[in-house]
Symmetry: C2
Subunit: 352 residues, 2 copies
C-alpha cells in the first residue's frame, strides 16, 4: 500500500545533471568551460578575503557586484539583476515574465534547460525549427506568443545573429517579453545590451561561467528595463533574498574590474578556435562559423558517435548529443592550444 502522504509530492521527471569526470590527465573539452584560470585579481580577492565577515549575511542586493556590472555595461544599477548562475536568472525570468495563456517560443535546437523550466513552472511552449543551415529564421517569430527566448549566439549550433535580427525580433514581438540569452556572447557575438535601453520588453542574460572562467562561483546576471528588473527582484526576493554569497561578490567584482585579462583571454580562445576550425575543415569536416567558445562539427562519411567514443577512449572528452537532426554532430569546447593539438592528433589518428 502506498502511503497517503506521497500523493502530494511533486511528480516530476528527475532531471539528472551530467556528472563531470574527475579523472586526471584528460583533455576536458566537453562542458564549454574556459581553459584559462580566472583573472589574477580573482585569486587575490579570494586569498585576501576576510573570512570573519562570513558570520554576517551577504549584502542582499549584492550591490558592489551590481554596480561593477552597471559600470561595465553603461547602464544604471536598477537595470541589473543578479542570480546564482544564469540558470537561476533564467529560471526566475521564466517564472516572473512568462505568465501567458499562449505558449512561449524558442528554436528546436537550443539550450536543453528551456523545456525543463517550462515543465517545472507549467509554461506551455512551441518550437520553431532552425533551418537546415541551423540558422534561426526571424520570420517564424511573427506569430502571437507568450514570450520569446533565444540564445545569441545559440548553442549547440555556435551561430550568432546580429543587431538587425534582434531589431526585427523586437518589431514582431511588441506584446511579449523577449529574453536574449548571451551566455556565449563574449567570444565574438553581438550583444543586445544597448538595445535594452530602446526596448523595455527586452531582457538580456549573461554568465560569469564561460568568458570569466568562474563556472565554479555561480554568478549570472540580467540587464533590462527597470520595469522588468523590478519584477525579477520581486520574485527573487519572495524565494531567497541572499543568492550571491560574500566570496562570490568579492571575486566577481575583481573579475569585472580586470578588463585587460578578460579581453586577452577571450581573444586567445577566439584565435585557437579559428585555427582549429581551419584544421578540421582541412581534414574534411563541416564546421559551423562559431561565435562561441566551442565548435559544432560533422563529417559526412563518418559516425560522430563513434568518433566521440574513440576520443573518449583516448582521454579526450568532447560532447555528443543523441538528439534528432544533430545525431551526427559533435560539440568541441575550445581548450588551450596544447589541448587542441592533442585533440587534433587523436582525430587524425582516428581518420587513418
Amino acid at each position: 500500500m502506498e502511503n497517503l502522504w506521497t500523493k502530494n509530492l511533486r511528480d516530476i521527471d528527475p532531471y539528472v545533471p551530467g556528472e563531470q569526470s574527475s579523472e586526471k590527465d584528460i583533455v576536458k573539452i566537453n562542458a564549454n568551460e574556459n581553459p584559462y584560470p580566472p583573472s589574477p585579481k580573482v585569486f587575490e580577492a579570494i586569498e585576501k578575503f576576510n573570512a570573519s565577515s562570513l558570520r554576517f549575511y551577504p549584502n542582499a542586493n549584492a550591490t558592489p557586484l551590481k554596480q561593477a556590472l552597471a559600470d561595465y555595461y553603461n547602464v544604471d544599477i536598477k537595470n541589473v539583476f543578479l542570480g546564482n548562475g544564469s540558470d537561476d536568472v533564467i529560471a526566475i525570468a521564466f517564472q516572473a515574465l512568462f505568465n501567458s495563456d499562449l505558449p512561449i517560443v524558442y528554436p528546436d535546437l537550443t539550450y536543453s534547460f528551456y523545456p525543463v523550466w517550462c515543465s517545472l513552472f507549467n509554461i506551455s511552449y512551441k518550437n520553431y525549427p532552425v533551418g537546415d543551415d541551423f540558422r534561426i529564421n526571424v520570420e517564424d517569430y511573427k506569430e502571437k506568443n507568450g514570450g520569446v527566448v533565444i540564445p545569441n549566439p545559440n548553442a549547440p549550433t555556435s551561430l550568432g545573429e546580429g543587431t538587425e535580427f534582434v531589431e526585427k525580433l523586437m518589431e514582431y514581438n511588441q506584446d511579449s517579453v523577449v529574453i536574449i540569452d548571451e551566455a556565449y556572447v563574449d567570444f565574438g557575438g553581438v550583444s543586445s545590451v544597448e538595445l535594452t535601453k530602446k526596448y523595455e520588453n527586452l531582457l538580456v542574460t549573461g554568465t560569469f561561467s564561460k568568458s570569466r572562467s568562474l563556472a565554479g562561483l555561480r554568478i549570472g546576471f540580467a540587464i533590462g528595463s527597470e520595469k522588468l528588473i523590478s519584477v525579477l527582484e520581486a520574485v527573487k526576493n519572495s524565494y531567497n533574498s541572499y543568492t550571491i554569497d560574500s566570496v562570490s561578490i568579492a571575486a566577481g567584482v575583481a573579475s569585472v574590474l580586470d578588463y585587460e585579462y578578460f579581453t586577452e583571454t577571450c581573444n586567445k580562445i577566439i584565435k585557437t578556435r579559428s585555427r582549429v576550425t581551419d584544421e578540421l575543415r582541412a581534414l574534411g569536416f563541416r564546421v559551423l562559423d562559431s561565435q562561441t567558445n566551442f565548435l559544432f562539427a560533422t563529417k559526412d562519411d563518418l559516425s560522430m558517435k563513434d568518433m566521440f567514443e574513440y576520443l573518449k577512449s583516448k582521454k579526450v572528452y568532447i560532447r555528443y548529443f543523441s538528439v534528432p537532426r544533430i545525431e551526427n554532430y559533435v560539440r568541441i569546447s575550445i581548450g588551450t592550444d596544447d589541448e587542441m593539438d592533442i585533440f587534433l592528433k587523436e582525430v587524425k589518428e582516428y581518420l587513418k
Copy 2:
C-alpha cells in the same frame, strides 16, 4: 496606455529584504548572526582555495559536503539535500512536497517567509495561534492538512519542543509531509534528525548561517528519507543544478569537520544567553526560556518600540516587530559578552 507585454508579468508584492546597517562601531544584535568568526579551518580552506579550479563547474551534487554532513548526522548520503541557504532548501521543499488541495498549516507566530513562499507557489495555508505562553499546541495539528511546517525551536519566540511533541505531531500527521525547520537547534534545542529514520514523511532542515557563523556563504541542508530527498533533488535539478559553489563546498566541509570549535562557540553563546536572561529578569523583564541564539523579551510597563528606538540611537541594534500579539516584544540576538554588556548598560540607562 499600458503596454500589452506587461500583462504577463508576475503580479507579486515586492518582498523587500531588510537592509542591514553597514555602520561601524555598532552593536549589531538584530539579525541572529553569530558574534564569533567561523572555524579557523574555514579561514584556512578559503586562503588555500585554488582559484584555478573555478573555471570548472562545481560538483553538481556537492558530494564532499553532503558526505561530511551524512557522517556528522549519522545518515546515508542519500538522506542529505543541500541548497543555497536554508531559504532555498525550504522554498524547494514547499514546491516539491506541498501539492495538496488542503491548506498547509503552521503557527501564527513563526518565520515570516512561510506565507511568502505560499503566495509565490500558490499554496493555501492556515495558521494555528500559539498559546498565550507562546507555546505551540500539538493538538491543533490533528486536523487534516496539506502539510505541516514548524520551526523547532520557533522564531521569534525562542521556545523549543522536545521529542514527545514531534512524535505526537508525526502520529497525528501520517498522511502529510512534516517539515521541522531546525535553524536554531544547535543552541540547546532537541533535534529530530534521528526521527527521520523512523518517519519517512519527516523532513528536517538546517543552516550553516547561525551556529556555524557562515551566513555569508549560503549553505542550507535537509535530512530525510530517500523518498523525500529524491523529490527535492528532482525539483532542484529542474531549476538549477549547481546551487552550491566550489568555495562554499570547501569551506562548508572545513566547518563540519571542526566539531570542537563548533561546540565551543555554541556553548559560549548559551552561557552568555543564560547570563543576559538573568540580568534582564532582574531588571523586571519577562524573558522567554530561549533555546536559540536570541532572546524574546518584554516589560509590562514599558514600550518595547520606544526602547528599540532608544537603543538604536545609542548604536545598539536589536529587532522590533510591528506584528499583532507581539507588538510589545523585542528580539535580542546573543552577541559577545562585551556586546551584551553594552546592551545591558544602555537598557539600564533607558530604565532610569
